[in-house]
Symmetry: C2
């Protein structure tokens, strides 16, 4: 097989003048070191964490695109406030796409790199929205025989996030979980993990049909935030499970605060769990996404033993250490088509992903919607 001399790579840039642009740039196929491989990227998902890098704090409702084919360009204005937040990235052409999978089409001279030739591998490390990607052979997760790039495109972000939520629960001394946007791909994975591991999970969804979906998957505790009895239902479920840790994908609004209120209400029903400064056990909500970009509003009616904060997979993995990370990776490869199966709403080419009307379809999509970029399309 003959390799091309150049490939297309998607970049995102914020200008000092207050505009975010995304486009495809042509780059030379990189030189490979002894232990590197070159992956022909065949499938790479659009995760909310990718969208943070792609779009940052730009005013997405005002996005427009111009040009055609490989010259398609997305332009989005950025408010002065958004510019303040993105100050550190002004003028930098950032590559995007955290994870993906494809076929190894070239390899350095090293034995292990050579052994990957022709294999389908998954990799996490940024810059995956591209036709090709160089990676250290050691970073590649080799998929099992018969598993395609499409099967393995989302090997890392969602699976490791879901597994790390359960790890965090154990590390920080909690015994059950609350999860919001629970009908998402990630939420479905978390359900399968919790059922397999015997961990009680409260699923918070926003629509009756999402509750149905999870019920069909065997989820036990499901609470619909659109229901009038939401707070009572949530408090009951938290009380039944003893959950004192939540992961919230929405980030904004009152949901994190409502979860803490429910935890406090549940503790008030439990003899010995309550002091005059509120419930005794530390209650924590981690915001791991920002589907709702409005401010987080905390009523604070839940005593003094509580925390709300950001949670980011790479930070957790760095803290947990290599051994934990390797254990979680191995489980993902083993259970790729069962526990960690992903479903996609649509498949896009690189240039389609830059068209304003397509962006509006995948931008900040919540539960159940997930898009795949197929750079060879």
């Amino acid at each position: 097989m003959t390799l091309p001399s150049t490939y297309l790579q998607m970049i995102s840039t914020v200008s000092a003048e207050g505009e975010l642009t995304m486009e495809l740039v042509e780059k030379p196929i990189p030189e490979l070191g002894e232990d590197d491989v070159l992956i022909r990227v065949e499938a790479t998902p659009i995760n909310p964490s990718d969208q943070g890098v792609m779009f940052g704090w730009a005013s997405m409702a005002k996005a427009t695109s111009s040009g055609e084919g490989k010259a398609t360009k997305l332009s989005v204005p950025v408010s002065p406030q958004g510019m303040g937040v993105m100050k550190a990235r002004i003028g930098q052409a950032l590559t995007v796409g955290n994870e993906g999978a494809g076929t190894v089409v070239a390899a350095g001279a090293g034995d292990y790199a050579q052994s990957l030739m022709g294999k389908v591998v998954a990799v996490m490390g940024g810059g995956m929205y591209a036709e090709y990607r160089k990676a250290p052979a050691m970073m590649c997760l080799v998929l099992k025989d018969g598993h395609t790039a499409r099967d393995g495109a989302s090997c890392f972000v969602n699976p490791l996030t879901a597994l790390s939520m359960v790890e965090t629960m154990r590390l920080e001394g909690h015994s059950a979980l609350v999860h919001t946007a629970a009908a998402s791909n990630l939420g479905q994975m978390l359900n399968r993990i919790c059922r397999a591991d015997g961990v009680e999970l409260v699923n918070v969804v926003r629509k009756p049909e999402q509750a149905e979906l999870l019920r069909g998957m065997g989820a036990k505790h499901i609470v619909d935030s659109s229901s009038e009895s939401f707070m009572a239902d949530l408090t009951d479920a938290v009380h039944a499970t003893g959950a004192t840790l939540a992961f919230d994908a929405t980030g904004g609004g009152q949901l994190a605060s409502n979860i803490l209120t429910a935890m406090e209400g549940a503790a008030a029903r439990t003899p010995g769990a309550y002091s005059i400064y509120g419930s005794v056990h530390h209650k924590q909500v981690y915001l791991y996404g920002g589907l709702d970009t409005s401010p987080t509003v905390l009523s604070r009616g839940y005593g003094m033993a509580w925390g709300v904060g950001g949670w980011l997979l790479p930070n957790f993995l760095a803290k947990a250490g290599t051994e934990v990370a390797m254990r979680l990776r191995a489980r993902v490869a083993d259970e790729l088509k069962t526990t960690f199966a992903s479903h996609y709403t649509d498949e896009l080419s690189l240039e389609e992903a830059l068209q304003a009307d397509v962006v509006s379809r995948y931008y900040a999509k919540a539960t159940g919607e997930k898009f795949l970029i197929c750079p060879q399309k």
Copy 2:
């Protein structure tokens, strides 16, 4: 000296009907165990943490008082929302007053208890808004010769809180601090501690005269939140000190969020401190008070490595362990009239503290205002 057979004790009760009442009840002088002492309480401060127990989530603007002298009674309506938060304390007559000092007027047969007879001691443990208080002799901090009950009334809450802020900073891997309501008694103490210990401190105040007060005490970094250049000044001060931990006494509004924004802005100026997910070092704001009872509003424009949460002295001391607690206590006794000196706005009798007009003077007072109850008055 002859002891009375009864004493007056202040209690706070929330009724199921939605009313909070505070009054004085007559109780028999308690029996002393071998290792107990009886303290005639002579001085006990009103701290914000006491007011949480005294008034909880009652609608304080509607407080009224009735009766006279020892029969004075304070009545405050509680909204349905407030009742929800206070569910766990309905019908319980709670004693109030975390700390105070006085003279040991009776003691059990044990040697150590006997050795305290006639001594002036300070104690923390609740129920101090009373004419007398039984306490285990071991719990008493014996004041140095020449120090009065008034000197030692605030031995614990403010001094240990200020010291524990610096301990928390070290334990959690930060190297400088931000403190709000910085002109308070506690803030002044924290300044003296930080100057003595060589810890950089950013003082956030709300008025120019508070800035002057702290400047006169030798504080180096002072930022006035009423100034138009507040955010720029705060970011500069955070950058100069490298502070990634803040303690906020106000709790509500946008101050905590503004501090995190300033920390993020400071990190963006520092090479290597920034990633595409925001600044790398964990940024934390602990809310240790609630001077502003409005919701906490977080803009979240500061990446993913941040946290906001409640902070309570007893919880910290429990986590830090006995050795740390004893070291901090010893320092307080040694530096009682210097580092840990308190200043009081007024001295009240027990019954005065129940009069609605007096309550409105001390309720949720911020910086520079602190009241003392003198139960023997």
